[in-house]
Symmetry: C2
DNA sequence: TGCACTTTGGCAACAGCGTTGCTTAAGTGG
DNA sequence: CCACTTAAGCAACGCTGTTGCCAAAGTGCA
C-alpha cells in the first residue's frame, strides 16, 4: 500500500527536465550522431526554447555539454548543435559471469572507451573474486587518461537471482557460497564508488535500448509510448530482460524475466528447478543434442508468449549459444513466432540479435551506472478543466 | 524512438501534486475510511505541510474535499481529518458484454451509487447498441439526485481486441460488424461526455487495484514500488489485466494481457485463434467436459508463468466461470502455482477472487473515467550531486 | 481553575522554476 | 547592399513549493 514518496517540488522539477534534456542529448551523441539543436530539444521535450536555453547553459557551465557546429541552413540563423561532452564523465561496467570477468569503461554517452576480459572462476572465495573485479576496474580506469577522478560509478551485472534494490545475491545456481552476499556494498567500498547491482539479462536489455545505434528495423513503438521489447539470453541458462514503455521492468524482488522457467509442455522433462516442462530444459536439451534449429523454434514459442502477454514491439536475442549462429536463431525464432503473433495479435514482430555481441552485458552494466543522469519519467500532463475549474490531471492509470 | 513530450512546467507540477493528494484522499475515503490529516498527507507525499495545506485549501474551495472530524488525541491540537466529497462528482462505468449491458454510476471515491443491467445482443447493429448504452447511462444518471450535471465522463469496457488510444474496436470474436468501429467517439458524442474505451480485463484489473477495500491478504508490494498483480478472467474466453508497479500495462497497441493464447502444450488442440496448445483452448475444453478443477489447475500453470516473467505480487481471479465456484478456483489455482513459484521464485503467491463479483468490470470502467484525477506518477527524485555540482537525478532506468 | 506545554495549521515573505516579451546575433536571398 | 528570416539570450514576471513565524486548540499537571 505504501506508494512511496512522490511529491514533487521545484528541485525535482529541475532535475526531471535536466535529465530529459541529457537523455535526448545522449541519443543525439551516440554513434555518428552530429548533435541536436536547442530548438529541437524544445520540440521534443515540450519545454519552451528559453527553458531549454537555461538548462543547456547550466549543463555547459558544468562541462557536460559542448557545442558541435551548425545545423542545416534554414533561411535564417542556423541552429547551433549541442552534444554531450562524452569524456566529461565515465562509468565502469562489470560483467561477472561464471567463468569470466569483463570490465568496460564507458563515456557519458555510453560508448565503450576500453574493455578488458579475464578468466575468473566464480566458485572462488568472495574476497578473491572481489579483489579481481576491483583490480580490473582500477586497471581499466587508469588506462584511460583523464578518467581517474571522473568515474560516476560502476554497474555490476551477475547471473542468477539477486536483489537489485538491496544489492545482494540470492543463490547463484551451483555456487551456494554466494547466497545472501552483499556484493554491491562490498564492491562499492573497495572501489570508493557507487555501485549498482543487476541481473546480466537486465543489463543487456539496457544496452539494447535504442540510444541511437541499435533501434531494430521496423520496430515502431506505439504512439507516445517508449520502446518495449524483450531481450532473450540463451547461454548456460535462459533468461530475459524486459523493457516496457522504455523502462526496465524488474519486479519488486528483481524476479522478472525468468523466461526460461515458463511451462510450455505439461509432461516435459524435469528442469534443474525441479518442475516439469520448463522452456529452459527443453531448449538446452535441444542444444545438447545438436538441434540448434529446434532450440531456436522453442525459443520462438516462448517469445510468442511474451508478445501475447505484454504486447512488446520487438524481440532481441543474445547469449553465447545464440552468437554461435546468429542468423539461424534470428530466422528460426521469427519463423516460430510469426504464425502465433500473426493470428493472435495480427502482426509480425521483428527479431534481431544484439549487435554488441558478447560484450552486451558489460556495456549494459555501465549504462546502469549512467542511468540516474538520463531520466525519462514524465511529471504529468497539461491541466484538465473540470466543470470550469482547473483541477488536475496526471498520467495516472490511463495513458491515452 | 519518439519518447513523446514529457517536459514538466509549473502547471504540470501542480497537477501532479494535486493528483497525488487526491489519490491519497481517495484511499482514505473508500469503504469505512475516516479520512486523512494534512500532516499524514505531507508525510506520504514528501511535500511540506504548508504545501499540502495550500493544495487541500484549493480542493476544498472547489468542493472536492470536506473536513471530516478530528483525529486521535496526540497531546496537542488534534489533526483535522479530510476526505473526498464523494458526491461532488460522478463517473459512469459501462460494461458492454456479448449478451449483457451493465452500467454503474460511481462517486468520486469509486463507490457504486447505482447499477443497472440489461440483456443486450452485441450482434445487433451499432446504432441500436449505442442507443441502448446511452439510454441506460442517462437513465442511471437521472436516477441519482444531483448527479445530472456532475458526471466527469464514462468508461467503456468491451471484450476482444481494441485500441485504447484510438478508442476503436478491432475484431470482436464472432462479431465482424464491429471491426474498426470508433466506439469511443460515437458514445462520447451521444452522451456529450468524455469516454474512455478499454478491454474488460483491464477495467477489472483497475477495480482490483487496492483503493483501500481490496488489498489481498499477504500481498506486500516491494519497497517503494506500487502494487503488481495479474487479474485473470475466465468466462467465454480467457484474458488478463496486468497491473505493474501500480499502473495498468496495456502495451502500445492495447494488446497486453492475451493470457489465454500462451502456448503451454506443443501438441495441444487447435484453438479458435488457429494455433495449437493455447491455454484458453485447454482450459475451456476442461470446463466443457465438467473438469472444473482441471481447468483451475491449467489456469494455475499459466499464472505461474506470469509470476516467473513479471514477478507480480499476487493473482486475482474473476469471470463467470470462476464465480460459479470461487473457492475451488482459488484453491486449485494456488495448488498448481505453489510448486512452480516456490522452486523458481522461492515464494508463495497469494491467489484471491475479485470481491466485486460480476460487477467488477463495470466498476473498473467507472474508474477509467475517474483515473485522470488520481495520478500516481512521480516527477523524480531528490537531486544528485556529481563531482560537487548538483546536476540531476530522475527515476530513469534504474529504480533503486 | 489556571497555566505550561504540545501540536496543528494558516499568514507572509521568499527562492527558484519555466514563461513571456523583447532585443541582438547570424545567417539567406533578391 | 539590404530586407527578411530564424536562433538564442536578457529581463521582468507569475506561480510553485519552502521557510519563518504566530495564532488556534487541544492535553495534563499543579
Amino acid at each position: 500500500m505504501n506508494r512511496g514518496i512522490s511529491g514533487a517540488n521545484l528541485p525535482a522539477l529541475r532535475s526531471h527536465n535536466t535529465a530529459l534534456v541529457l537523455g535526448l542529448l545522449r541519443t543525439a551523441t551516440v554513434g555518428a550522431g552530429t548533435g541536436i539543436s536547442r530548438l529541437e530539444l524544445a520540440e521534443r521535450t515540450g519545454l519552451t526554447p528559453q527553458a531549454v536555453s537555461k538548462i543547456t547553459a547550466r549543463l555547459r557551465a558544468d562541462g557536460l555539454v559542448d557545442e558541435a557546429g551548425r545545423g542545416a541552413p534554414t533561411g535564417g540563423k542556423p541552429r547551433t548543435l549541442l552534444r554531450l561532452a562524452r569524456r566529461a564523465r565515465y562509468a565502469a561496467g562489470v560483467h561477472l559471469d561464471r567463468d569470466e570477468l569483463t570490465v568496460v569503461l564507458a563515456d557519458l554517452a555510453g560508448g565503450v572507451v576500453d574493455a578488458r576480459t579475464l578468466p575468473l572462476d566464480l566458485g572462488r572465495p568472495a574476497g578473491e573474486v572481489l579483489e579481481a573485479v576491483a583490480g580490473l576496474v582500477r586497471e581499466t580506469v587508469r588506462a584511460t587518461p583523464g578518467a581517474d577522478g571522473a568515474v560516476l560509478g560502476a554497474g555490476l551485472a551477475c547471473p542468477g537471482p539477486l536483489d537489485h534494490a538491496a544489492g545482494v545475491l540470492h543463490r547463484v545456481t551451483g555456487l551456494p557460497g554466494w547466497e545472501g552476499y552483499p556484493l554491491r556494498d562490498a564492491l562499492a567500498e573497495r572501489l570508493g564508488l557507487p555501485v549498482v547491482l543487476d541481473k546480466d539479462t537486465n543489463a543487456a536489455a539496457l544496452a539494447v535500448l535504442p540510444t541511437g545505434e541499435d533501434a531494430a528495423a521496423g520496430a515502431e513503438p506505439g504512439p507516445g509510448a517508449g520502446d518495449s521489447f524483450g531481450y532473450l539470453h540463451l547461454g548456460t541458462g535462459l533468461g530475459a530482460g524486459l523493457v516496457l514503455d522504455g523502462a526496465l521492468h524488474r519486479g519488486a524482488r528483481t524476479g522478472a524475466g525468468e523466461f526460461g522457467h515458463q511451462a510450455v509442455a505439461p509432461d516435459g522433462p524435469v528442469c534443474a528447478c525441479g518442475n516439469r516442462g520448463c522452456l529452459e530444459a527443453l531448449c538446452l536439451a535441444a542444444v545438447g543434442r545438436g538441434d540448434t534449429a529446434g532450440a531456436a523454434r522453442l525459443l520462438g514459442v516462448g517469445a510468442a508468449n511474451l508478445v501475447s502477454l505484454l504486447d512488446i514491439d520487438r524481440v532481441v536475442l543474445g547469449g553465447r549459444t545464440v552468437l554461435a549462429d546468429p542468423g539461424l536463431f534470428a530466422r528460426e525464432v521469427a519463423a516460430a513466432m510469426d504464425p502465433r503473433t500473426l493470428r493472435a495479435a495480427g502482426r509480425t514482430v521483428p527479431v534481431t540479435v544484439a549487435t554488441a555481441g558478447r560484450r552486451v552485458v558489460a556495456e549494459g552494466a555501465a549504462l546502469l551506472a549512467l542511468a540516474p543522469l538520463f531520466g525519462q519519467t514524465a511529471v504529468g500532463r497539461p491541466p484538465v478543466r473540470v466543470r470550469g475549474r482547473t483541477v488536475t490531471a496526471s498520467r495516472g492509470d490511463i495513458s491515452g
